[in-house]
């Protein structure tokens, strides 16, 4: 695989990936999982919205990596410590246990090797927080079933040939990956179309069907 040929994601795409109508809620759910005064790395931090929330509300020592140059420059101009980099290639440069939390918000599905990225996140950080759009949502299932085309939704509007999202997964798929690489799921939240949290005491298949987005708090298995 040649990383060099990978198209640069511009900020508009980063926004489109991150900022669905319930993006704000998604970020707040992520932020709620972070303990105050923690050291945080936000991978794919976009325009720095989450880092700003975390800095202001949780007093975290926040760092970011963002692939789009425009996003990085916006972040630095906001006074955030953000570097231009690629989750797929640059996490390897970070030493073990450098952060309390490594966050990957709405970016997992845009990485080349999600499994490797996830492994690096839990090497660099004690905990990882991952949020992603659930491809197992009933609307997406129905679209594929009845239209016979790659589904496009309000949150995921790009065509299959334009999208940066090359590795979609469902909540169930992600849970399987966590089990496979020995990751402990400390908390999970599924959000419905309006950004509301789904009830906690429902089975996984329900989440996988009705959760439009999922947020996982992960840690290394002891």
């Amino acid at each position: 695989m040649n990383m060099q040929t990978r198209p640069q994601r511009d900020l508009a795409t980063a926004h489109a990936v991150r900022n669905g109508s319930s993006a704000r809620v998604d970020l707040l759910v992520v932020a709620q999982m972070v303990k105050p005064n923690a050291k945080v790395l936000d991978v794919g931090c976009g325009d720095g919205e989450l880092l700003k929330i975390l800095t202001e509300t949780k007093n975290v020592d926040g760092r970011g990596i963002e692939i789009s140059r425009e996003g990085v420059n916006l972040c630095v101009a906001k006074g955030l410590a953000v570097i231009q980099g690629d989750a797929d290639t640059d996490l390897v440069d970070y030493p073990d246990d450098a952060f309390d939390y490594v966050i990957l918000s709405q970016t997992l599905q845009a990485t080349w090797r999600p499994r490797v990225v996830l492994e690096h996140m839990l090497r660099i950080g004690e905990r990882a927080i991952v949020s992603f759009p659930n491809f197992g949502h009933w609307k997406i299932r129905l679209k594929l079933l009845f239209q016979g085309r790659m589904p496009r939704t309000a949150h995921l509007p790009d065509t299959w040939y334009d999208t940066q999202n090359i590795h979609f997964c469902t909540i169930r798929d992600f849970r399987d990956l966590c089990n496979e690489i020995g990751v402990k799921m400390e908390a999970a939240v599924a959000l419905n179309h309006w950004g509301g949290k789904l009830r906690i005491n429902v089975p996984w298949w329900f989440w996988n069907l009705f959760g439009e987005q999922a947020v996982f708090l992960l840690s290394r298995k002891k």
Partner: protein, 396 residues
């Protein structure tokens, strides 16, 4: 250039080396020698510097600007020799990104320079004549040591920021490595932690041009009353090409002829770009000393921050409390983005707080001196964030 002009330039410059105009000078006597990497103790020596703005009561708002190879202390005010504006007036001044209404800005001429800090054109107290090549070879770290003595002299413990591009950026990195507790934030721009073989090669061409000029006289031109201006001009012409990108040169000059519509079938400056380079060369010799050029290029060549840490750059910044903002430019082929990325990787590996931005421009290495709004926004934002963390008032 007329011989008489050159003589008067030479005289004016010699005077500038001893008692620089429009500058402050601090002289360090025998009790405060500058201990150099070469093992030599330089004494006595002097540092010429400029300041802008006011130091606050807590002495916490001082910003040190480190100048590049051919820069000097006149960062934001009219140059006493050329009459031109300061070399970083786009960046430093009232209301500018490095705002002199908020920060106390210091810029000193590097040791071995030729604008009032001790250098090869200064008088050697042992002989009463200009040092020439008797001046000890200095390093980037020696420059920083001398600056630290100046900062001590000014009664400043911690610098709010140290900023600079190119050779100035090397000094910024050296500051952060040598005095991490004294550097709250660091802005190394368009630079590297070491000179590459290509960098050294270009510098060697420049030095050879100077030394090939028969008027150089093994560095004794000030004593012998000659002036290696041709060699220095050629050195500058060559170097100037490396500061610009291919695209910028072509955009500026293309293949256009200079004041003529046809080639003259001679070796006149037929092309605009030739004329431009000749002008760059001849105006440079009016303000710069040939031996200083040798010393400063040498200092850059010797720079290798990782070398003293077993080649592991991250170890140079282990536990650094400094906030870094690294900036590079897409079309800079002298200090390409890959060099800045190496700095960022090392800082990340060391757990340092680092921001990094690459700015899209076709202006090449010199972009850091030019009107680059994105650069201004980044530096302003970074400094505002650092100022909040430092407890300095940030205007809303």
């Amino acid at each position: 250039m007329a011989e008489a002009d050159l003589k008067s330039i030479q005289k004016a410059r010699a005077k500038e080396a001893e008692s620089p105009r429009e500058s402050l000078v601090v002289r360090f006597g025998a009790e405060h020698p500058l201990k150099l990497d070469s093992g030599i103790a330089l004494s006595p020596f002097q540092i010429a510097y400029k300041t802008y703005g006011q130091l606050n009561a807590h002495r916490s708002n001082a910003v040190l600007i480190c100048h590049a190879l051919t820069g000097d202390q006149h960062v934001a005010s009219v140059h006493p020799v050329t009459g031109k504006n300061g070399w970083w007036e786009t960046m430093v001044g009232p209301g500018k990104p490095i705002d002199t209404e908020r920060y106390f800005v210091i810029c000193s001429n590097v040791v071995a320079g030729c604008m009032g800090s001790s250098g090869p054109s200064s008088t050697d107290p042992a002989t009463g004549k200009p040092y020439g090549l008797e001046f000890p070879v200095i390093t980037i770290r020696d420059m920083v040591r001398a600056q630290a003595m100046l900062i001590d002299h000014l009664g400043i413990d911690t610098l709010f920021a140290v900023a600079g591009g190119s050779m100035g950026g090397m000094q910024v990195l050296q500051w952060a490595q040598s005095f991490p507790e004294r550097v709250f934030s660091a802005l190394p721009i368009a630079c590297a932690t070491r000179h590459s073989a290509q960098n050294i090669a270009f510098h060697e061409v420049g030095r050879q041009a100077v030394m090939a000029d028969p008027e150089w006289r093994h560095g004794r031109y000030l004593v012998e009353g000659t002036n290696p201006h041709r060699g220095l001009a050629v050195a500058r012409m060559g170097a100037h090409i490396t500061y610009m990108s291919d695209a910028a040169l072509h955009r500026k000059f293309g293949r256009r002829f200079q004041d003529r519509s046809n080639p003259t079938f001679s070796f006149d400056a037929d092309f605009e770009v030739e004329s431009y380079l000749r002008y760059q060369g001849s105006s440079f010799v009016e303000r710069f000393d040939a031996n200083s050029y040798l010393y400063l290029t040498r200092a850059m060549d010797y720079f290798d921050l990782a070398a003293e840490h077993d080649g592991v750059l991250a170890n140079a910044f282990r536990n650094s409390p400094t906030r870094f903002c690294v900036v590079s430019f897409t079309s800079d082929w002298l200090f390409p983005t890959s060099e800045s990325r190496a700095i960022v990787h090392a800082l990340n590996a060391a757990g340092a707080r680092v921001s990094f931005a690459e700015i899209v421009t076709d202006k090449g290495h010199d972009a850091f001196l030019l009107d680059e709004p994105e650069l201004f926004a980044i530096i302003r934002g970074f400094l505002d964030g650092a100022a909040r963390a430092r407890g300095l008032v940030v205007p809303s």
